[in-house]
Amino acid sequence: MASVTLKHVTKTFEKQTVLDDICLDITEGSFTVLVGPSGCGKSTTLRIIAGLEKETDGEIWIGGQQVNNTAPGDRDIAMVFQSYALYPTMSVYENIEFGLKNRNVPRAERKKLIDEIAEVTGLADYLKRKPATLSGGQRQRVALARAMVKKPKVFLMDEPLSNLDAKLRNQMRQELIMLHKELGTTFIYVTHDQVEAMSMGDQIVLMNGGRIQQAAQPLVVYDQPSNLFTAQFMGTPPMNMFEAMIDASGKEVKIGNHPITKPLPANHLAALHSQRGQRIHIGIRPEKLQMVSHEQAPLSLVSKSDGFDITGIIDTREALGSETIYSVSTLYGRVMVKSYQEELLRVGESVVVYFPYVHCHYFAQNGERIARDAFFSTRADVSGGV
């Protein structure tokens, strides 16, 4: 077990900045997920921690030791690769054994360790087989066993589930969470899949363009996205985003050219005070919007809730069973609505969409979040407002 710390790590490759001043604290025993679109630098960060790539500048610390000049094999880490990278000419047993052999673990102890790990990973019957004869899931297990048997201080995983089919991926996700609980070792996990990030990590590090956009607990990233990118990367469909204008008095808010139907509450206006006379972005997640058909609107309870509304017409409907995703065209532009109601609305139907104030996020012109009293979608152990 060990913490991992990056201090001002920069990586340039052929005059291109791949990582720009990355500062990151990964606490001992945490499950940290590096997530972001492809090319954001998440894999490079992981490879620099592993020592497979050399940083241009900055310090890397693992467990209180600076490891900038330590060879990968001496950093006391293990890595699981996307392709698993099993040695094809060696049997499963030899694959798991290779790292131990190179660490001069005596033969009898090697056997004991491998038998143990084979039992845990369910590979006991496959030890003599070559990787080519195994299924994707089994290869994945061999890769895990090979990493686990070394009892490393830190586990690094580079998109380890992306080669598995959806069902197996879900199953392995659970297993990895369990594994992390049992081992208590620091896990650093790279993925481009926000679902994996939300479900597995106890800390999410969201990256884009070689910079860290936000590093926080998953629900904090979800509830208090630090900027426009973060807000729109997490969640499916992504957060609705509208360009808005605050008038010089700081009281009236227009989305496009249309004043909102009910003025923002006092505490929101206070938070937006500094933005008087400027353009901002107002964001709201599709699942936080409420929608009723136009005829029912006057009777509806939601209309009395604290928020503004807009009328529109349903363009498309994706009924997914447990939820339904509507695309609605309104005067504000296209609005995505995710509804969990069993009664479905029809395409072409005229509707009213309600925007509860508590779920509105505000972002300044430069994309940064405008802090306000936050509402939490879940009452998890998330720390106070931003």
Binding site: A50, L52, Q82, A85, K150
Partner: protein
């Protein structure tokens, strides 16, 4: 429909048989001649099956010179060259395949150029050099000029380049040294290529006539092809049956090797990617 398919199949087999015959015929004729008596060799029309099978032709060929020495020399030289070529070729190929260093492209281009220069162009300076070093009556002029093989380096480089980078990184994380990566990860994966190259090299040097002819003037260091050639020129008339018996002795080890490694050879040629 079915008839057409039968016809096609038949034509295919016939064509293959024809091609096979073209290749097999010289060997067959050589072997049959090696078993004939001298009178029968010259009869016209020629006979196929020898009237009398004369196994003693082989003994006569073998006994007409220091053939045991030739045989040993051939094996020794071909094996020594192969071992040296692997020892020098594997690290070179690994470096060309995996490292970026200054001048790597130039060096690799030079290697490819070396591949295109026939020994007939280089033997003279090599000979003079060997003579100056006073090495002529040793094995060294036979072995040293072939200690590194451009062809081998090229083949192995291609094989090494197909090994995924992640595999090497995994080995590094498993605390493997560069040497271990080469010998325990890369080389086993390149086995088919290695076997192909080994066969090519061994056969080339086993059969090589020109280079040993130039570089030796002493029976103690001559190789089998030279010995066989001397069967032809020993006395006035050529005893074709004896010469052919010598040839059979020369070819037999190679044929045996092909039979034994047949599957590996085919695999090596079909081989396109490391799984």
């Amino acid at each position: 429909m079915s008839a057409v398919r039968w016809f096609r199949k038949g034509a295919e087999i016939l064509a293959l048989a024809g091609i096979a015959l073209m290749f097999v015929f010289p060997f067959l004729w050589m072997t049959l001649t090696a078993l004939k008596g001298m009178d029968e060799v010259h009869v016209f029309p020629p006979t196929w099956i020898p009237e009398q099978i004369l196994w003693e032709n082989f003994a006569q060929a073998w006994g007409s010179g220091p053939f045991l020495t030739y045989f040993f020399n051939s094996i020794f030289v071909a094996v020594a060259i192969l071992v040296l070529q692997i020892v020098t070729g594997v690290p070179a190929a690994y470096a060309f395949a995996r490292y970026r260093f200054r001048g790597s492209k130039v060096l690799f281009a030079l290697t490819l150029i070396a591949l295109m220069i026939p020994p007939q162009l280089t033997f003279l300076p090599v000979f003079i050099q060997m003579s100056e070093w006073d090495l002529l009556n040793t094995y060294l002029p036979l072995i040293l000029p072939y200690a590194a093989s451009a062809f081998g380096i090229f083949l192995l480089r291609q094989a090494f380049m197909q090994v995924p980078e992640e595999l090497i990184e995994a080995a590094r994380l498993d605390k493997a040294s560069e040497w271990q990566i080469i010998w325990t990860i890369m080389l086993p994966m390149a086995k088919p290529v290695l076997i192909t190259f080994g066969l090519f090299s061994f056969i080339y040097h086993w059969n090589d006539y020109f280079w040993p002819l130039v570089m030796t003037n002493n029976d103690a260091f001559r190789t089998l092809p030279l010995g066989i050639a001397m069967l032809k020129s020993s006395e006035g008339s050529i005893y074709w049956n004896i010469v052919m018996a010598g040839n059979v002795i020369l070819v037999l080890p190679i044929l045996l090797m092909f039979f034994m490694a047949q599957r590996q050879i085919i695999r090596a040629f079909v081989y396109s990617g490391v799984k």
